[in-house]
Each structure stands twice: as structure tokens, then as C-alpha cells.
Assembly symmetry: D2
Homo-oligomer: 374 residues x 4
């Protein structure tokens, strides 16, 4: 059993998710490349020290370059803020380290291009954390589509609604300022939806028209009670899209959609059927295929099971439920296989930049009020 | 108990639905204006004669002007093909007869304007058959919204998918030819979605950008085996829309969406909650409102019941299910009340023309590739 | 088109439902026997007179024998209280009138036997109002089962929960007194569940053990504020059952189940599949059949449509929803066909008495604490 | 951060689940007692050696006494076949080791009593692997009930259906022989349902009547093609039950229920509401509570989130989904807290024997055909 030393940069939601994925990968997936937790990086020494022990790392540091320069480390998880993805990724790839980078790839297409250039110049594998595409059931859905289960793909329609910022009384934050954070949902969650659109259709968005809505235009200033600050980026982002394959579709995301906690829902329309998914029920897909007997026609609710590999890495029986962490481990497993084989997994930086360009085109379309090519 | 003589023009799906609504209205709604079935009109004398007896009408005719000129008739149902809506409606209104006209209102905005002019010149009530808006539970949802149950309305998102033409092997028909029938789904079912958008938001679409997709571009020629004919109108129609009230939203309809039988689904996003509906489960709405206790938060599935009036006209207990015909009778009841009171119900021709203009603007937007005002 | 004069005894929930069914039957079902509304009976002359006009009957009376003796009447709807079912049914059948009797059949097996004797001595058709079994989709489910869609039937499990009496603060009523009304739910709603069990399995319950629970043992006395009266019949009734065919199952009903409005849910387990229904979604069945490809296995949600006849009597398109009244009209249609053909429909009094015997056996089983033969 | 050495006996489904739980516990739960993977035991040296590396244990052995005698081991996972639970548990407890034992506790009440005696004689904590009760959302449901969210508990109704043996063509196995394996589903999965009934009601079953059904009475003999062997234990087991608290309910389990993969569904009926769960959607509960406004009443679908602790140990956002392994880790966490505090968690051997006695009473009730006290 071969091992690879890993370092994780960042210890918040995603840092912890990566750590948990590293913790279970070998026990779940068996005799592949085994991650060995070497270094954890947090800008706070106190937190880093505590987390290092809890998360099972051999060492900790407060400087990300220590992780990159650590000779025991071969794979680096970038779970730090988006604004530093580029500098860390470029440094890691330049140092010959494989990179597992959280989404979105970067804060601009220009940055993403630098990252891609560094990846191409290296012999390293890269993977972006579009975890929803790594669900074994979603992979199975894609495979069924490729086998023709719903005929020719004729449309993709996707929504990603959450209610993180739905409360009008939530105070203003840097996320709501275009200068500080760029786009709102068009950066933060549209990328998940575009990744799903690209993955499921096997094609990519090439032309679009978009729209923004800032629903809550003023929010209370957390520093000055009684005063408000303007929100100047998008609470809602929508687009009509065309794909390279010729199909068309719609994209819609919102951070102010009460009741949706992880409301990533999509439908693939086909010439002979339809397949749908709702991330809040990640262990189910809905499949409609034509039946000989119209009396028996209907959407099937398919529960994830061991036939939807690699569900079987965790559970031998269907209907027993994978969770976010198991799916994150499946994502890691794709990367470990890529490293072993020396062949990229999806989505590498090559795939990621196509996602970034769609969001960039949406932004330009909204500002210009026009249909645009990506 | 006052009565009103009614005539129905057309005996297909909608003609039958109107006849059934007239048959149950008085027994269901009690002491209001009571419809008395006088004349049924069908261009086939044979069919008209048979249907007259089955449907409980006193007479039948093959000429619609016989219905209009019948002195016993005060209310006329127009269930004939769309291309004749205008001439029948104008004649009926000119003759001083109230009009219940099926959707869409007409085949062009110009026609619809003629109809509206005739309505304004009369003392008659008009109603358009946007039956999905007449569901007691939908009315209750609107009332809850007006009472502030979900705060300020911040967005409307609607879909209407059906699979009537999903089968690529279905032969070509006049519906698929732009010259013969005008738009495809942008005429046939978009009107339902726009009616719902207007009804639920209490506002109207004023600006939009639209897109069409013709998914199955050739269909077999039913008259010449082995040959095909081009489909040159829209299988799918999508739009990003702005409303007069300032909110924004999306509209999407398709006739090639396998598995959707009456897939009219909409969401109203509010500043304090959300409310959703799926026409295939017309007796349920989903309501999310903020809860004091986050542990108990979730979408509520509300079953229709007697508190959602006039459900109680049919059933004294909740959860016992209204069907299409009961809802159609609720629609009729709105019109009968309007006639009694001499005040319009929603949607009259005044409301209907606003719906037509949205579809017209979508068509122009697609052809010009631009955002347009309605 | 042949006609039959009908009389309805009772004008409450079920009287109205019968009147509505009579109103739509001919328009919906076309050229069969056409009901002609002759006499309506209500013990209140004032209410009877008002309802007669609303419901479209030619006459009204306050004496049920006037209905029976009316020479224009050939079919009588018994929608009066359970305690008078027997005397009305026997008189009607003796007078040679067909009978459509609401459920439960009677208040004792002895009464039901008298009714059956009268039916056998007549040339008349009888039908009991077990409306849930008359849903076109339920008929289709039964037909699919008979065709082997789920293999051999191996079990029936049914629940009927409602919340009519769930509120502990609801005052005492005659329904809660065993002497006044006999059993509680074992009379009122267990009959629906047993009718479904018999219909769907094509067999009948022959052996069982039952249990009661009186959850709210005291309720406020509506006549004496501050005082309570004991509830001495069953709020909940459960049973383990064996069928003549050899299969086994469970039955459970409750009137104190918060949130269930018409919660009649059943599952038919088969050797090759399963089929399930929930009356609150009467237009859907769930069907599971084995699939060649385990990746695609799942319960199908089948929407009612015109292929589930006679749904097509009301609507030409699937997914457009039948309601309680349409289903009641389907029930009537079965009876009209039976009268026309001179052959019984299901459930006649022959079928009904088997249902009564199951409830009687449950009652005896609870009181004796033993497994019993029906 | 204190540590405890752990040994796992068995490497199949449950052995792997325990190993994964040990792998993630510290990273997820932070600064509690940290498990240190010491010894893995498998009767196959080859498999044990491979799994030891994959699963991150320091050593492996083929003899369970090596685990028990290992001075570095303080906590032992018993994931071996049911027939050896007793001997391993007694030996481990006698050696002063804490025990985490998979379900069912033993193969007889007598064995379970020996285990309990050993536990009482020790200073060790015990926990049984009734994982479905350890779901954070289920814990939250129980807490809500204790706080009065649904008023007084008035009933428990539970089902556990799976389709493991639904295929009549599956060959005979030892599981289908009463002599070899004891009861069928009354041993294997009824225990899960009873554990849930006890946990959710805070009470225990004290009186019952049960029934078995052997649906597929002959199965093919895997050793003698063309021949069959009899199935002489229960494919289906049902019971009517009374609880110590006075409430009543029903239990039903089946291994031949097509389409159910992990179909553990339960309802708690309360005097002011209802709460329901379906294990196939483990991240959702349905809650109905009375509303002031009947128009807004309905079952709420609550998604698991960080407010349902310790969901927050894995994920900071609601709706992101826990899986089987996360829940198993929550179970482990309960045990680690119990060890730290020196106070039992639920379900210890004290709780487990009450579960065993219910299954034993069901078996005796079926054989005697009588209601019995547990």
C-alpha cells in the first residue's frame, strides 16, 4: 500500500471536511494510495495546535509555505479564503505538489488562468472541490445518461437556492460588497451549478444572457448601530444559456430563498426521458423513462446503493445513506486515483477555468444588458 | 334563486369541462345565480345532438350565432378553437351576453384588443379560463401572501412542463407550424404561467428577455410516410422577467418534458418565507415561514380543506381532494358572482390582455435577441 | 339514452355528494343510463325545499317513504344516519327500487343480514358507498395486480388515520358513547379500510386479533360546563389479520391522529413488487417492480390519467387530477352499469356483509382478548 | 486530549463501520476522549492483515482474546456474529474493558442476562449498536417531544421493511432456519424497531400479541440444484403492543418487502401533534403541531442542521446531509462521553435486555397464540 503525505491549509468548514475525508479514505477505499496526514496550517497558532491533534496531523504551522516546502507532503489541500487560492496553488504546483483546491477556483478569470498555466507546467494533478458532482448517485446518473437511458440530452435546468442571507435583519458583511468580494451569488454558488451543468451534460455553456437582483438593498451596519450600508452585489442571479452541444437551459441561484438549506436542484431533459436531483435529498434521483404500458409510467425514486459505486466503499446495503463527508471522501478518491494513474480526474483546473468563464460572462452580460458569448 | 341561461360553444375537452361546471355549480354553491343549460353548439350536428342530451342542454345548434342570438341565453362559453375566439367574443359582447372564454385569449394582441374594446363597450362581464389560478388553495395562498405570511414578495419563479410532444416519433401537426398556429408553447401554455405570475404577485411583467428552443426540428409527415416536415415554432420557451412592482423572476415552459403531465410549478419568494405549488398535486401547497425555534423549521405541506374557501362548497372535511372539475366550477362561481354584483372578477379581458402582451414581448425578444419592455 | 329516476334521502355531506354525482354522471360518462333527479328527502322541510332547488331535484319531501313510493323513482340513495340504513334499505328493496347506501352498511351484523335478505329477495342492484375503492387509479392498481405486475400478493397493510377527534378539548358527543353509537373508529372508518383490503386482495379477512385504545378518556360535557363525560369506545383500533387466500396483514385506524385529514394509506406486498397508495394523494400510486438494472430500481410515482379508466370520462390528459366528487361519480357509474346489465357491481350488499363481519369480529376479539375466526 | 486504545473484533459491514467511526471521531468531535486504533481481529489472517493497514490499526490478530488481553486496549468493538456476542462481551467486561456491541445483543434472553450480569459486575460502560436511535435529528425529535411539542405521547407505530430476502429465487441460507439462527426478522430487525420504540417513547413494551408469516416457504437448496429446503422462521413479524406508560401501538417488520431498502418508519402520535421519520430519508423529520390558523396547518419537513446537535460536529450548515457513518460516529461519541463521565449512555446492556425480552415475548406469543406480558 503506497502512501502520500498530505497538508491542509485552512481549518474552517472545508478544512475540516478535507481532514475528515483524509481520515476515512483508506479505510473506505482499501488498497489505493493512502493519505498520511502530515501538516495542518492555520493562521492562528492556538487553533492550529488544537486542530492538529484533533484532526490527526503530525505537525502544524501558521505559514502556508511551510506546508508547500515540507518534503513529506505530496498533496496540498487549499481550504483558505478565495483571494489566496491563486498564490497558494501556483506555489504548490511550482513546488511539484498535487493540489486539491476548494471552489470557486479564483476571484477572477485572470487568476484562474495563472493557476492553469502553473498546472500545465507541472506534472501534478489538480482537483477543484465541486463536491456535489462527486456524489456516487450523480455519477451513476451521468453514466445512465451516457448509456442512453433518457435518449439524447435536450436541456439542462438548474437551481441553487439557499437562505444564508434571507433574513433582511442580518447585518451587512464583506460578502455584500462588490469591491470587497466581487459578485455575490454569481461567485459563491453559481459555480456549483455551472459545474453540475458541465458535468451532467458533458458539454459547456457557450452563450448566455444573465440578470441580477439585489433584493435587500440596505443592511444594518454592524459597526454603527442604527445605520445601514448598501448591498451592491447580487442576491439572486439568473441566466438563459446555450451549450456547445446545441442544447439550451436555465440557471438560477439565490442566497435569499427562505427554507432552502442546500437547494441545488437540477433536471436533465432527454428525448426519451428525464432525470432530476435535489441535493437536499442527495441519496435519491428521480428517473422517468418511457414505458410500454402507460398505466405504469411515472418518475422512479432511486435510492443510492452499492451498485452506484463507490457507495459500496462505505456501505454494502442500499438505502443506508451517504452524507456530505462520505461524498467528500469520494471526491478525494477520484484525486488519489488520478495521482496514481497520472491522468486527470474531473474537475481539474482545465475544467475549472471553463466554469469561471461562464460566471464572468454572466457578469458581463448583466452589466451590458446583452446576450454574450462566453 | 335567480337563474341565467347558458350556451356552450365547443364540446371537446373544454366544452365538456364547462358543461360539467354548469352541471354542478348550483348544487355546490347553493343560493347564488343558477346556470340553466340552454344551447350547446358543435359544428357536427351528429355530435352536437348526442352531447346535448348527455350534457343536459335543452337544444343544440351547429352555428355559434344561434347561441348568441338565443334570447334565453345570457352567458356564453367560448370553447372553440383559438382562431375564432375573437369573432365569437365580439359578437357575444355586442349582443349583450356575458362571456366565459377559454385561454389563450386570442391569437394576437391585436385580436385581444378588439375583444377588450367590445367588452368595455358592453355592460357584460368577461372571464378567461385560467383555471389554475382558481384553485381555492391558490386563492388561499394569495390571501396569505397579502396578509404578510411570507413578508414582502421578492421573486416569482415558474415552470410549466408537459410531455404532450415529448415523443420524437409523434408526427408533425399544425401546432408545430408557426404560420398555422403562431408560437408553440409560448402561446399554448406560457399563458397559464403568466396568468399565475400576475395573479400571485398582484403585479405584472413589464420587461424581459426570452429564448426559444426547437428540440425536435423534424417530425414525420403524417400524410407522406417516410418523409418529414420541419418544426418551426418553440418546443421550449424561457424568459428572465421584471415586474412592475420591482421584483424579478423566471419563466420556463416546455412541451417536450418527459414525465411532466401537468407540471405547472411555481415558487413565490418572500422576505420572510416562501410558498410553492405544483399543479400535479393541486391539493397541496408548501409554505415556509421563519420559526422561533430553528429545530422546528421546515416547509409545511398544507392540504386543501374547507378553510380554503370555496373548497367547502364541495367537501366539509380537509384532505378529501378537489379535482379539475371542482376547480373549474370554482372559476365559474367567480364569474357568476361577478355577473350578480356587476363587478369584474379576475381574470377579465382587462387582465387577459396583459397576459397576451407578455407572450408577445417574449416572441419579439427572441426574434430580436434583446431585452424588451412589454 | 335510457333514464332512471333517482331519489336521495339525506342532504348532508353524503347527500350532497350523491346529488353532485347524479348531476355530472351523464355529461361525464355519456350514453349510459342517465339519472333524472326526482325527489330529495330531508327531515327539515325548510332545508329540503332550499336544497331541492339548489341540487336540481323536481320535488322534495320530509318522509323517506315518499321517496320509496314515488313511481318515478327507480334508484334510491340512502344518505341518512346509520341507524336507519336497515329500515330504509329493506323498504326500498321490497318496493323494487335499486339502492345506493352509504357506509357503514348498518349498525350490526344482524341488521346487515336483514338488508342482504331483502336484496336477495329482490331483483334490484345494491351498492355500498366505499368510495375510496372506486378511484380509477385504485381500479388500475387492482388490475395491474391481477395481471401479475407485483407477482403473487403476499400481504396487505393498511392504515386510516384522521384527526377529527384529535383535539382533547373537543367536547363529548354521541359518537364517543358505545351505547349510543356502538364502536368508535371500528365502526366509522375501519369499514373503509376493510373494504379496501377486500377489494385489493380479492380475498377476505377470516381470522384476527384486535385491540382498542381510548386515548382521551374524559371529554368536556357540552351541556354542563366544567364537567366531563367518559369516552367508552375506541379512539384507535388495530388488528393483525389473516385472509382466506392465506396472506396476512395489519389494520390500524385512529380518529386522534393529528395532521392526518384523510390518511387512508395501504401497501400491497407482492412476491415481485409492491404497490402503495395514500388517499390524501388520490391521484398517485407508488409501484415498485424488479428491474433488470439495479441502478435504475425504485418506486414509481404514477399519476392518474386517461389510461386509468374511467378517468377519461372527465379529462383527456394525465396529471390533471380527479377529486372526491369525480370519484363518487365513478362509483355511481358502476352502479348504473350494474343496473343496466342486471349484474352486481362491487361492493354490493353481498360484499358489504363480509366487511361488517370483520368489524364485528374485531370487537369480539378485543372484548375477549383472543384470536378469533371472523 | 486523553486517548483510549480500541480493538475491533470483526471486519465485515459493522467492523468497517466501527473502524470508520473511530477514524473520524476526534476530528469531528474535537477535544473529548480520542480513540487510538490498536488491534483489529479477523479469523482470517490474510484479510486481517490487509484490513489492519487500510483501517489504520497498529496490529492485527486472529484470536479475539488477544484483543481483550491487549494492555493498550480499553474499549472493544464486538462486530462478530451474534452467536459469539455473549462470550466475547463477558470476557471483555471481566477483563475490565468497555464494550461497544453490535445488535442484537445476543441470541437469547438467557445470554443477554449473562452479559448484563458481567456488565453490572464491572466498572465498564456498555453500548449496543442501535444506530438509528443515534441520529442527531432523532435525538432532536425526542427532545422536542420531551419539551411537549406534540403534547402527551399517545401512540407509537413502527415499521421496518427491507427487501433483502424478497426475491423468491434467492437460495436458502442459515438465516432461514429456526434451529440455526432462531427467529427470522423477529431477531434481525425487530430489535431495531423495538429500540426505537423504547427510545422515542421513553417507556417500554410490557404486553403484546404477535404474529409471524413465512411467505416463501421453500427456497432452492444451494448445494443440491433442483431441490428445495423449507424456510421455517419468520419473513414477516407483526405485533400489537402496550407500553408501561399506558400507551399502545403496533410493530411490523418484513424482510420480503420489495422496494424497501432501509424502510424503518415510525410515527409518534401526540395529544397535540405528530412526529414521523423514515430512515431512508434520515435527514428529515415530519412534524405536525396545531396552528392558530387552520389555513396554514400541515406537516413540516425539517431538514437536519447544526441546531440538531451534534450534526454541527460535521457540518456548519443545514441541509448538507449526514450519512450512516456520521451517525455511527455520533453513536461512538455517546459511548466516549459515557466512558469519560463514568455514566451510562443509552442503550447500555441495561436497556438492551429490555429489547431482547420484547422479541422473546413476541416469539412466545406467536407460538401460544395469546396476548402475553413481556
Amino acid at each position: 500500500m503506497k502512501e502520500i503525505g498530505v497538508g491542509v491549509i485552512g481549518t474552517a468548514f472545508m478544512g475540516k471536511a478535507h481532514a475528515l475525508a483524509y481520515a476515512v479514505a483508506s479505510a473506505a477505499f482499501g488498497d489505493g494510495l493512502k493519505p498520511r496526514r502530515e501538516v495542518l496550517c492555520d493562521i492562528s497558532a492556538q487553533r492550529g495546535k488544537a486542530k492538529q491533534k484533533e484532526m490527526g496531523f503530525a505537525r502544524f504551522t501558521t505559514h502556508y509555505m511551510d506546508v508547500i516546502n515540507d518534503p513529506a507532503v505530496g498533496l496540498i489541500s487549499i481550504c483558505a479564503p478565495n483571494v489566496v487560492h491563486k498564490e497558494i496553488a501556483v506555489a504548490a504546483l511550482t513546488a511539484g505538489k498535487h493540489v486539491w483546491c476548494e471552489k470557486p477556483m479564483a476571484t477572477s478569470v485572470a487568476e484562474a488562468e495563472e493557476m492553469l498555466t502553473a498546472a500545465r507546467a507541472s506534472n501534478c494533478q489538480t482537483m477543484l472541490g465541486y463536491n456535489y458532482t462527486q456524489n456516487p448517485l450523480v455519477h451513476a446518473a451521468r453514466q445512465l445518461i451516457e448509456e442512453g437511458a433518457i435518449g439524447r440530452v435536450i436541456g439542462f435546468h438548474g437551481i441553487y437556492d439557499v437562505d444564508n442571507e434571507a433574513d433582511p435583519d442580518r447585518p451587512h458583511s464583506w460578502r455584500m460588497n462588490r469591491q470587497a468580494s466581487g459578485c455575490g451569488v454569481n461567485a459563491d454558488i453559481m459555480c456549483h451549478l455551472v459545474s453540475m451543468a458541465h458535468f451532467m451534460t458533458g458539454s459547456e455553456v457557450t452563450r448566455l444572457v444573465g440578470d441580477y437582483d439585489t433584493v435587500h438593498k440596505q443592511r444594518s451596519d454592524p459597526k454603527h448601530p442604527g445605520q445601514t450600508l448598501p448591498v451592491d452585489n447580487d442576491d439572486v442571479c439568473t441566466a438563459l444559456v446555450h451549450f456547445a452541444s446545441g442544447i439550451r437551459g436555465t440557471l438560477r441561484v439565490s442566497r435569499v430563498a427562505w427554507g432552502r438549506k442546500c437547494g441545488l436542484r437540477w433536471e436533465i431533459h432527454g428525448s426519451q426521458g428525464m432525470i432530476c436531483h435535489d441535493q437536499e435529498r442527495l441519496n435519491e434521483i428521480k428517473l422517468y423513462t418511457r414505458s410500454e404500458d402507460p398505466r405504469q409510467q411515472g418518475f422512479r425514486t432511486i435510492l443510492s446503493g452499492p451498485c452506484h459505486q463507490p457507495y459500496d466503499a462505505f456501505l454494502p446495503n442500499a438505502g443506508h445513506t451517504l452524507g456530505f463527508i462520505e461524498v467528500k471522501a469520494c471526491e478525494l478518491n477520484q484525486l488519489l486515483i488520478a495521482i496514481t494513474k497520472g491522468e486527470p480526474a474531473w474537475p481539474s483546473f482545465e475544467d475549472g477555468i471553463k466554469i469561471e468563464r461562464v460566471m464572468d460572462a454572466i457578469d458581463r452580460s448583466v452589466l451590458s444588458g446583452q446576450w454574450l458569448d462566453v
